[in-house]
């Protein structure tokens, strides 16, 4: 067993000790830097991810497809039931469609009578989800569109129906969508029809919490929840979902977007909101509140 003691002594040469300390100190320095100058390091993270993951798409896409194929194959057993269910649903939807068309026509007539201007319709950039965050630390997905495609930080991302999240971090060919379920996601909302405003805050569960609602007696499960547009972070009237009660009688949102199969995501071009250019502006207060144009960072 002298063998092992010599091995151990060999291992602990001064050079090696120094190396260990240097690596640990370097990592500590990185962590401290991340903690102090978060936006800049996060941009660095986006650059690295942008360099790695879109290049791996040739492998990610087939692997995802293969796993999904197996899953779909499992659900073939229920195809007949599903088909009948869908037929019934379609029947119901047809009557709703009739109603919607009539309402739309009526709405158009009334708008014309009032000469009312509504928000312009949004154009969008569609992207494909190429990667997951892979850890419970953040609920986010990576899209295959980025700065090159004109994506800007803060733009809302929807699936066909409801809000999915918003852009937080862009690289040149990829961008990250922070989902509504992320623990740091906060979205100002309106509960319809009562018109009360509140916040939807993610807490790492599928159904985010509704917070700061003034009067809970005015809302009922099933109420529609849309963005309010307060604070200029998101445009108003984007569908988020329906209000539900959880077993502890807390108000939550049943999200309209299908989080189980998030594949295609639309990023809305939102020109209205406040623009943040450069990392410094996230930390500094506004110097002049009268200047409408985006301020540039002081140091860059």
């Amino acid at each position: 067993m002298a063998q092992n003691t010599t091995q151990y002594d060999d291992y602990l040469t001064p050079i090696r000790r120094l190396l260990v300390w240097m690596v640990l100190l370097f990592l500590i320095a990185v962590f401290v830097l991340w903690r102090i100058d978060n936006p800049r390091v996060e941009r660095f993270r986006a650059v690295i991810i942008d360099a790695i993951i879109p290049n791996m798409n040739w492998a990610i896409a087939p692997a995802t497809t293969a796993v999904n194929l197996v899953r779909d194959f499992k659900s073939y057993a229920e195809v007949i039931e599903q088909n009948q269910e869908l037929r019934r649903e379609l029947q119901r939807m047809k009557s709703w469609k009739e109603a919607a068309i009539q309402l739309e026509q009526e709405n158009a007539r009334l708008l014309e009578l009032n000469n009312l201007k509504l928000n312009p319709k949004f154009t969008f950039v569609s992207g494909i989800v190429i990667a997951d965050s892979g850890s419970p630390f953040s609920q986010s997905v990576l899209l295959n569109v980025g700065e090159r495609d004109g994506i800007v930080d803060g733009w809302p991302a929807m699936d066909g129906l409801g809000l999915v999240g918003r852009i937080a971090g862009i690289g040149s060919t990829s961008s990250r969508v922070m989902l509504l379920t992320d623990a740091s996601s906060r979205v100002p909302i309106v509960v319809q029809p009562s018109g009360q405003e509140a916040l939807v805050s993610g807490d790492n569960t599928l159904n985010p919490l509704i917070e700061f609602l003034k009067d809970t007696s005015l809302v009922r499960p099933g109420d529609r929840i849309v963005t309010s547009g307060r604070g200029g972070t998101l445009p108003p009237d984007l569908l988020i979902g329906q209000l539900v009660l959880d077993p502890h009688k807390r108000l939550r949102v049943k999200l309209a977007a299908d989080y189980e199969r998030l594949k295609f995501v639309r990023v809305l071009r939102d020109q209205s909101g406040e623009k943040i250019l450069g990392a410094g502006n996230l930390l500094l207060p506004k110097l002049k509140d009268s200047s409408p144009k985006p301020t540039h960072p002081l140091v860059d």
């Binding site: 190396l19 260990v20 690596v23 640990l24 993270r45 419970p136 609920q139 990576l142």
Partner: protein, 176 residues
């Protein structure tokens, strides 16, 4: 000997990359109620305990930092703690006169628990909002339970035996 240990180091890096790849596949974007064991940490610990001389601390640091960056974790936090505990377990493996599997497993368990506690403590001291502690506690327990299976897989799939056997053989080869 040099070639063989190099092969194992390359194999280690490859396995880590494949596991990172599997983890970021966008299969399900719903927040999970339960967490899978951290197989990446398991494999790294298996390598540290069975090939203490074949896993350089620079390699470990870089791989952990890369994981932090890709998995959207606080950059550097997990890396520094995990590198520290891997280094510690490497020393345990090198110092021990005999290293039966049970001791190896317990060393890995101590490392995993220490990583969990240190990450939580540092995160709360530096005011980082972490998801609930329960998720990470569960993940740690599952990781410890998964360790024997990962070790078994490495033993019979890749021929990764305890370091004393392999390095003893290697040293015989060098002397002759």
């Amino acid at each position: 000997m040099g070639l063989k240990s190099l092969t194992y180091s390359i194999l280690f890096v490859l396995i880590v990359f494949v596991l990172i790849f599997v983890k970021i596949l966008p299969l399900n974007t719903v927040p999970k109620e339960w967490t899978a064991p951290d197989v990446l940490l398991c494999v790294t610990l298996v390598w540290c305990l069975r090939r203490p001389l074949g896993t350089s601390i620079i390699l470990l640091g870089v791989l952990f930092l890369l994981q932090d960056i890709i998995f959207q974790r606080p950059i550097g936090l997990f890396a520094v703690v995990a590198t520290l505990m891997c280094e510690w377990s490497k020393r345990q493996a090198l110092r021990a006169e005999e290293f039966p599997f049970f001791i190896e497993w317990m060393t890995a368990a101590v490392a995993v628990i220490a990583i969990f506690i240190l990450v939580q403590v540092i995160a709360s001291l530096s005011l980082i909002a972490t998801p609930s502690m329960r998720i990470f506690a569960k993940e740690s327990v599952f990781t410890i339970l998964a360790y024997p299976f990962v070790a078994l897989l490495c033993r019979y799939g890749l021929g990764l035996r305890t370091h004393q056997v392999t390095e003893f053989e290697a040293s015989l080869g060098q002397e002759s």
